[in-house]
Symmetry: C2
Subunit: 219 residues, 2 copies
Amino acid sequence: MTHKHFTIDDQATLEALLMHRRDVRGNNFLPDELPQEAIDQILYAASLAPSVGFSQPWEFVIVKDPDVRQQIHQSFNAVNESAASEFSDEKQALYDRLKLEGILETPVNIAVFYKPSAEPVLGQHSMLEAGEYSVVCAIQNMWLMSRAMNIGMGWVSILNPEDVKKALNAPENHKLVAYLCLGYVKEFYATPELETLRWEKRKEIESLIHQDRYPDSYE
Amino acid sequence: MTHKHFTIDDQATLEALLMHRRDVRGNNFLPDELPQEAIDQILYAASLAPSVGFSQPWEFVIVKDPDVRQQIHQSFNAVNESAASEFSDEKQALYDRLKLEGILETPVNIAVFYKPSAEPVLGQHSMLEAGEYSVVCAIQNMWLMSRAMNIGMGWVSILNPEDVKKALNAPENHKLVAYLCLGYVKEFYATPELETLRWEKRKEIESLIHQDRYPDSYE
């Protein structure tokens, strides 16, 4: 057996990274430039992700151009207004106080696309989403590597994907999986902001686990 | 600034974990039981994942029952036969030699579901997939925590999700995101098996990165 053996200290390091990773928004980013080596290291982490049939179906657009970012930000504004109206009055008041993205506050945005394969992909026959899911694994790798470098990352999902694709001149068959904002931070919060503000409660893990099958009584 | 600062050594540990994580199949698993504490730690890692609007939309079914696993394995066999026929004769010959799952060889399987929220979710308005994607982030956390504990994990996507839901008595509105096989291993391969066997080539990361927008010449 020649493979790498990880230690209990390595496990503790990973656990700390998972615990201290945060979704960072514009109220917590610093405008300082990110070194190219940091961006390269984050994309390298993405490339180490698992992918269905080793298809590596990810593509990345590094967005620094202010005009492009303004277009993306306009899409955020339009969607955000419509999204806010879904909530009760009480929640809307809180929603309106939240800063939910850092598109313009960060030095770098990264759009992450899923590029469907022209050929059949091993393992992507009955569960077609496996391709997109591979891209999400790459994004989580990016998030953790960013945190290990004390760099913040935020995932903006309040966007119209078609607007983003147009702004980025993306091919029609590519699917936008994530739009990410990256930069150094003022602070990594100790807990998720939405937990601190009691927008949602943390679920008890035990309540989310079933043994062998769902009980008939499940609701 | 009171938040946790990670060091260059922590970054190196994470990089090693990302590099040495493998998708493990039935030809490399050992039948030894996993301690309950190990399973708990892996599920704890899942619970630390980011989720859209802090919705934590994941549920887990820990499958040990041999009868349930036989049913899942039958689904694999049926889909696998149909999947193999997609490939050219040459690739089919290689495909038939591959062991692509460890449903019966592992001591524990974990089915991971996305449970849609009955209420609106912050950030899940224009990109509805953000819920499922949160579940995938949790799965990547599980994969990395398993590897840190020198436990192998394999993701089986060659399944009919409806068969799996039926075998697990899953609620109709839950979506199967992943079916995972976990156990100790004979070996973690140094590189992905599909890369070693030249099923697919590793892509050069530079070819997957664009600056500010896709070029008009992109194909």
